[in-house]
């Protein structure tokens, strides 16, 4: 699995177990990427068509943000738009895995709910780890 992340998240993605990680804002990094079996897209937007072009014929492109703009140009790829839905057993499973040390989920910082604006501004800049608000 190759992680596609922001430039400042590459080292972290590798530490978490990806065999490689690339900067999705870098066209040259995407250009160097070979053919892939499939893509799991949680970003969408302008990078989606670039990644779609890397998928081998018969491969899958799962996207949380609707089909890539030029999906029609890639009829041999199975485009699968989807939306994450609540699944209590899933969050219990992963919470237990984190508790038991099988997974890492980094918390960047905890901030008061009254600072939600500053917290979102910080999250939007793309740090490493989650920001949690407390009322």
């Amino acid at each position: 699995m190759i992680a596609g992340v922001r430039k400042n998240q590459i080292d972290e993605a590798k530490l978490l177990g990806a065999i490689d990680a690339i900067d999705l804002s870098s066209d040259s990094a995407i250009a160097k990427l070979g053919t892939v079996e499939g893509v799991a897209d949680a970003v969408g937007g302008d990078v989606a068509p670039k990644l779609l072009a890397k998928v081998k014929p018969g491969g899958n492109y799962g996207s949380l943000l609707g089909p890539p703009k030029d999906a029609a140009l890639h009829p041999t790829v199975n485009i699968k738009p989807m939306t994450a839905h609540p699944a209590p057993a899933t969050y219990v499973h992963y919470a237990e895995a984190i508790r038991d040390g099988k997974l890492t989920l980094q918390i960047d910082r905890v901030m008061p709910l009254s600072d939600a604006a500053q917290a979102q501004a910080a999250a939007e800049k793309g740090g490493v780890g989650k920001i949690v608000l407390t009322p």
Binding site: G34, L64, G66, A84, Y91, I131
Partner: protein, 167 residues
């Protein structure tokens, strides 16, 4: 209650910490006293308007998908939870002191997991797990037990070299 309220699309400063009507649990719903709510990219894409095609916002709005807290009250017909239970969920309206969640979407926080961690788990776990299982970007033999490890998006390599490196 107090909440971070959004009145129109725009920059982070559009989130105003102010009074907002208390939500009431309907049949099959649970009222949660929020102890922690985590921020996800969809939150700021909804705030800015970047995601309005797929996730339009009706104003005034309280954003936030990930909630952890204590059960405050039960709606009609809810059997599986009790007042005071430690719970977490993938929900809507988590940036607030109170949040209503469908009982079917709610889970008890496992023993030994704190509120902060619990609030960080629901959306990333559902996103990663469902994206890998349902959209199947790689063959089942090489699926990962921890798909949410990829921070943003992930591609499964098809070269033999990459395959062996993955084992």
């Amino acid at each position: 209650m107090k909440a971070a309220v959004l009145h129109e699309y725009g920059p982070p400063s559009n989130l105003k910490y102010e009074d907002f009507p208390d939500p009431k649990p309907g049949p099959g719903e649970v009222l949660i006293a929020v102890r922690a709510a985590s921020i996800n990219p969809i939150d700021f894409k909804m705030r800015s308007g970047a995601a309005k095609e797929h996730f339009p916002v009706t104003f005034p709005a309280v954003l936030g998908r990930d909630v952890a807290g204590l059960v405050r009250a039960l709606g009609e017909g809810v059997k599986d939870f009790a007042v005071g239970d430690r719970v977490f969920a993938l929900a809507w309206g988590a940036y607030a002191e109170l949040c209503v969640v469908k009982a079917a979407d709610l889970a008890k926080i496992p023993e030994g997991v704190d509120m902060t961690t619990a609030a960080a788990v629901p959306l990333v776990s559902c996103t990663g797990d469902q994206l890998i299982r349902e959209a199947r970007p790689c063959s089942p033999a090489r699926r990962f037990s921890s798909p949410e490890r990829s921070a943003a998006s992930a591609a499964a390599p098809s070269s033999p070299r990459a395959r062996s490196a993955q084992r």
